[in-house]
Symmetry: C2
Subunit: 211 residues, 2 copies
Amino acid sequence: MKTITIPSATISRLPVYLRSLGDMPPTQATISSEQLAQIVGLNSAQVRKDLSYLGAAGVRGVGYGVAELRVDLREALGLTHGYGVAIVGAGNLGAALSNYGGFEAWGFEMSAILDTDAAKIGESLGGLLIEDLVDLERIVKQRDVAIGIVATPASSAQDVVNRFVKAGVRSILNFAPAIVQVPSGVVVRRVDLSTELQILTYHLHHNEAAG
Amino acid sequence: MKTITIPSATISRLPVYLRSLGDMPPTQATISSEQLAQIVGLNSAQVRKDLSYLGAAGVRGVGYGVAELRVDLREALGLTHGYGVAIVGAGNLGAALSNYGGFEAWGFEMSAILDTDAAKIGESLGGLLIEDLVDLERIVKQRDVAIGIVATPASSAQDVVNRFVKAGVRSILNFAPAIVQVPSGVVVRRVDLSTELQILTYHLHHNEAAG
DNA sequence: TAGATTGTTAATCGATTAACAATC
DNA sequence: TAGATTGTTAATCGATTAACAATC
């Protein structure tokens, strides 16, 4: 287990670097910090600093090997594991997520989609059968689910999170517009459409970045 | 036009404060910075500092009036305008977004949903007819669309963004897993499932926040 | 008045970036 | 060697927080 702590700002940029490398033409064997900075819209010093946390593979005068860098980034992010993902909520958002092709491409495995609605349970979605939320704990254990996704209305979010926590899930992605409480040791990331819209609205309202 | 510049970190917390106040029981007329901090998981000094940027309505020894604070937050975020929103991409994600009830609740207006797929154009989604992307510029002008949402595959994202920019849209929310380039004056926020998953994976991999 | 809580300052902390020696 | 670019230091910038006077 590595003990260097990577700053959280850097961590959230690592997936962006990784994606940028994926868009690279295969003819390009190396990339400089300056080029990468251009692509992702950052300062080249920051790129070098971020990559240095990975024990980067840069070569002075040349740049970073694209292939090596990709390996280093995947390694640092822990994308070598194939973590299982369970989605709770088989509504529109759950459907969109379960049909999102990217999961497998990034090494995640869609393990289950669950709901409480008897009318939905047993239906097929994204190649999986919708299962009953009451079975969450069993499913998490049997299929080794590591990541839980909450795609329910806000009113159910805390309950669903509690169930995930009880089942032993330590990483939760919350799409419900609600702030949920979790014990320490559990990481929750929140993605909220109305928050994003409201931040955009602030900029509209204040004419920011205008000119 | 107010000229005080609110730090971007504060701006992104304002919607969170606003939502927390919405969850408040109507019996509670005032709230202290300490209470609000508890709910959103922040330091009370930070809450006071954030609210002070709004020309906050706090009363020493008492706290903030819930109703006034809500008004101040909505005002600061520019939620008094009823901005029009257009979604490009009538796939699963576009469907989820167009059915997302929160738009109107927060004062946004779903103005249009567009796609390039002839099989989808003319179909109904979230109460709107799916329209042809080639008509985007006309639609933006006629319906005064202020915010564009990109819900297409990554490969189309830059093209769609270009169309939004050409049509005069200055605020874009990008759900496609692609980094897009825009001229200065245009604000893009990116929401990317695989980035979020990868950040969670980092924490899993490094056993962070464990204990 | 005594207790509570704001608004704000000053201290701290962390993140970004300019600069440059190291070196391919 | 000359040119390019890294890795890292030190300076800067910005954001968080402790502390406390102001005051309801």
